[in-house]
């Protein structure tokens, strides 16, 4: 495991002497929302051989960004939760049903986020978006939503919010094992002209500065995330594509088997951290 404290200290020292002065957040801060303390540090899951502690990306953000997530009235991601709650009750499609027609209250979705992505009854690994669209097309007789559409983002944010505070707990063995292995292989493979793997930044160098970017562990327990850079909520696959593109590699489509497998592996590196949806990042 990298000497996190030492590196962080070095970053602070450098910040004092050179032009390295993006605002670093308080890494010892506690994420408390509505009186509930979320788990932002946890022992690394057993399968992670190179690390001993996992940390939420919230800890790596500036104090200002941290504060926005701590107040649901300030958190712009909560607008997506509201929109998702409205959509939950909208009757659409030939069957004349809404989500609520079958599932009842949205609270019944508590725990779902913690297990996503998940192998379906046909043995295929599905992300939450796949389950939602399957409900729409097969049960409701409605049109599928685009992966990054406002409707899909609102629905995934609202459903994920029902699990806020619950620890991530994706399955990695049994039927999930081959998908997890595929994702793990992707995580450690150096790609693109810059020849970076996910691990180069998010395992070997978290806590360090990449220009103005304070490198985090690349955890996805906070998704869907309200990203200041996007001025909106975005999906996990959107974020993964951004990183892959940054290595100057060809990337994969949203909803592709590759990104879903990578999502599973990255999610499993966060097993034990609280679901934070909607989180706020820069």
């Amino acid at each position: 495991m990298p000497g996190y404290t030492r590196k962080a200290t070095l970053a602070v020292l450098l910040a004092g002497t050179v032009m390295v002065a993006p605002a670093l957040g308080d890494e010892s801060a506690e994420l408390v929302i509505d009186g509930e303390t979320l788990i932002t540090r946890a022992p690394a899951p057993e399968h992670m051989e190179n690390m001993s502690e996992i940390m939420s990306g919230w800890l790596f953000r500036s104090s200002e960004t941290q504060a926005v997530q701590m107040d649901d009235f300030d958190n712009p991601g909560m607008l997506y939760v509201d929109e998702g709650l409205d959509l939950w009750n909208v009757v659409e499609g030939e069957a004349g049903e809404s989500c609520a027609s079958c599932h009842g209250d949205a609270e019944s979705m508590a725990g779902v986020r913690t297990q996503m992505p998940h192998v379906n009854e046909n043995g295929e690994l599905w992300a939450m978006e796949d389950y939602i669209n399957n409900c729409r097309t097969e049960r409701m007789g409605a049109e599928a939503w685009g992966w990054e559409s406002n409707e899909m983002l609102s629905m995934t944010t609202m459903i994920s919010y029902q699990s806020r505070g619950m620890p991530m707990d994706v399955q990695i063995d049994g039927e999930a094992a081959p998908y997890w292995e595929q994702g793990r292989e992707m995580y450690y493979t150096r790609t693109g002209q810059l020849n970076f793997s996910c691990a180069n930044c998010h395992e070997d160098n978290y806590g360090n500065m990449l220009r103005a970017d304070h490198l985090s562990q690349g955890q996805i327990n906070g998704f869907p995330v309200y990203r200041l850079k996007w001025a909106g909520v975005g999906s996990i696959h959107r974020r993964l594509r951004g990183c892959i593109t940054d290595t100057r590699a060809e990337t994969y489509g949203r909803g592709s088997d590759e990104l879903t497998a990578l999502e599973l592996y990255v999610a499993s590196r966060g097993n034990g951290l609280s679901v934070e949806a909607p989180s706020v990042r820069n």
């Binding site: 390295v20 790609t191 020849n195 990449l210 220009r211």
Partner: protein, 150 residues
């Protein structure tokens, strides 16, 4: 005056013979990954190298390295070592070797190879067969780094 004229004359004669660029696949590496011979035969320009170093679309070296000579540029990374005084710590051949392919010197380094054009996984289609920097840009950056003294 006379000496300068002589030197200039010698360069003019010598230049056409060695002006051909060394292709990425033809670079000769010595012990510890050093590259003794210039990639172009044209002396590197430190001022152009400084621009290439700082340019986010070219070297983007500040992404990972701190460099006090560019203190006017905001936000220097610390993934790699500081480059203050790097011209005192390494020879030109060492620095050329590290820029061309740092993995020959530091096997597990994260540092990209700036003058390698093959062997990448899933490289973006429009960049296939391309190097990050041109041969002359590498020479310019080497010349610039050699000006960085403690």
């Amino acid at each position: 005056m006379k000496l300068t004229a002589l030197a200039a004359g010698a360069l003019m004669i010598a230049a056409p013979a060695i002006a051909d660029e060394v292709a990425p696949g033809d670079v000769v590496f010595g012990e510890y990954g050093v590259v003794e011979t210039s990639l172009t035969g044209v002396v590197g320009d430190p001022a152009a190298g400084r621009d290439t170093f700082a340019n986010r679309r070219l070297g983007n070296c500040l992404a990972c390295h701190q460099n006090s000579d560019l203190a006017n540029e905001q936000f220097h990374g610390n993934v790699g070592p500081t480059l203050d005084g790097v011209g005192d710590r390494w020879t030109e051949a060492n620095l050329r070797g590290i820029l061309v392919n740092a993995k020959n010197v530091f096997p597990n380094t994260m540092m990209p190879a700036f003058y390698v054009n093959e062997g990448f996984v899933n490289v973006r289609e429009d960049l296939a067969g391309q190097t990050i920097l041109s041969a002359q840009q590498v020479e310019d950056v080497v010349a610039y780094l050699m000006t960085l003294h403690d």
